[in-house]
Amino acid sequence: MPDPLLEVRAIDAYYGDFQALFGVSLRVNAGEVVAVIGANGAGKSTLLKSIAGLIRPKAGDIVFDGEPIGVAPAFAVVKRGIALVPEGRRLFPSLTVEENLLIGGQSRRPGPWTLDRVYDLFPVLAERRHLPAPALSGGQQQMAAIARALMSNPRLLLCDEISLGLAPIVVRDIYARLPAIVAEGLSLIVVEQDIAQALKAARQVYCLQEGRIALQGAARELTRESILAAYFGV
């Protein structure tokens, strides 16, 4: 097995006294799409935030490209090549669409993604580049949030609930563009409540339940029953 791009080794994460993750481990190989599924409150977002450096795990290691990043602050993690598309999009409301993208690119990592390239991927953003970010529809905001993350030229893109609150047709549209992103050599972790969408996009699947990995395996090998059991804890 090749060295993974990202290896999360048995991390514990807390919000104050509340423990959200219990010994969670996960591997992402270069060019691979990994899905993390689980019910509300299972710890999916916490896992992504820990990887992105927004939460510092109290135990365990996070190794990216052979180097430990578990204690690095978020702004330093981006410079290593990990970008997070946060839950709820969270574009900067007082910035225009293009300014949001430029902020994403301000870490100046070299790579294929430029304003022109992300506008090719999401042409609607080019049309609306000078509008304030809140003027976009939900789906367009999600595209802008993905584009903004791509602007940092990450090697690993973390997508938190990109289907949340969007119409199914918009979700399919956005998921249809993920292969173009992976084709540039990126690895992806997609956190989803929409299991069907996640299973279609990913090679590896991890299912979190109450802060623990309840199931993991290749997407094509997992049975519907085993996933539902892990998801709902029945």
């Binding site: 992105a52 450096g53 927004l54 602050p73 978020a74 702004f75 981006v78 410079k79 970008a83 997070l84 946060p86 969270r90 900067f92 409301p93 007082s94 910035l95 300014e99 430029l102 902020i103 994403g104 301000q106 870490s107 304030p132 970010a133 809140p134 903004r148 940092s152």
Partner: protein, 290 residues
């Protein structure tokens, strides 16, 4: 008679530029990091003393001293933010208030120890008394005019920095959402320190003009803080041009008050401030929320 009043208003407008400079740094800091800097006025006075040392030490005039005073104050601002104020920021507004209040007392007493309570003034030479006539009975001082022009340039420069540069974009993004700003690779501790450096650079300019215009001593800071607050609130938070208008309204109110009765200068300013606060608590030109 009409000319006399016109003159009063004109002087009020020109002094309003100075108040706008007091206010601009305050507004910038609150906008970027929600920090109310109670020591703002005392930092203005500190800048005046730094300028006093520079003018006396190097024998340069006060306006030239800005070439040195501005970077010195900016460096103090950066260090102050990185070394102290960043640690006070969080969900609670109280810690930065208390710490900057303490800082205000420390600066006042430090200056008192070093420079005594004697009143000082920066000497700008002949330019201080130069005036020119714009119309029959209307005279404008060269220095107040320069001061106003500099204030307009400072506001315009801030506006351009905020909306046309990468640093300004970083300020606005950090103000919107600190956590996501970090996800974009922005070290918010550095962004905040840059904002404080910029605020103190403006303070340096304001402090020098204040010290040329009037006598200063270590205790006059808090009143400058109040003028700055009033200008910010009259103009509307987050709007730099509004801050200039706020400063002008405050300056004109004070000038009119002083014309009616010399003892009414400050009172008139406070009354107009309170009246505007009562009628339009959001200020005259609040930032249009996105």
């Amino acid at each position: 008679m009409a000319m006399q009043w016109l003159n009063v208003i004109l002087q009020g407008v020109l002094i309003g530029g100075l108040y706008a400079m007091f206010a601009a740094g305050l507004s910038l800091i609150f906008g970027v990091m929600r920090l109310v800097n109670i020591a703002h006025g005392d930092l203005i006075v500190l800048a005046a003393y730094v300028a006093l040392l520079v003018t006396q030490g190097l024998g340069v005039d006060p306006l030239t001293s800005l070439l040195l005073v501005t970077p010195i104050m900016a460096a103090i601002g950066y260090a102050l933010q990185r070394g102290l104020l960043n640690y006070t920021l969080g969900d609670d507004l109280l810690p930065p208030l208390l710490v900057t209040f303490g800082l205000s007392i420390i600066i006042q007493n430090g200056l008192l120890e070093l420079f005594t309570a004697d009143s000082r003034k920066l000497q700008a030479g002949a330019i201080e008394i130069q005036t020119f006539q714009v119309a029959q009975g209307i005279w404008i001082g060269v220095l107040p005019l320069i001061q106003f022009a500099v204030a307009v340039a400072v506001i315009a420069g801030l506006q351009a920095l905020f909306y046309k540069t990468a640093l300004g974009r970083a300020f606005r993004a950090t103000s919107d959402d600190q956590a996501v700003a970090q996800l974009m690779g922005l070290d918010t501790r550095h962004v905040f320190a840059m904002a404080m450096a910029l605020s103190l650079a403006i303070i340096a300019i304001a402090g020098v003009f204040l010290a040329v215009r009037t006598n200063f001593d270590p205790a006059i800071g808090p009143a400058r803080l109040i003028f700055g607050f009033e200008a910010v609130i009259i103009g509307g938070l987050g709007n730099m041009w509004g801050t200039l208008v706020g400063g002008v309204i405050l300056g004109v109110s004070q000038a009119i008050g002083a014309q009616i009765d010399p003892g009414w200068q400050l009172l008139a300013g406070h009354i107009v401030f309170l009246a505007i606060l009562a009628v339009r608590p959001q200020g005259l030109f609040p930032k249009v929320s996105g």
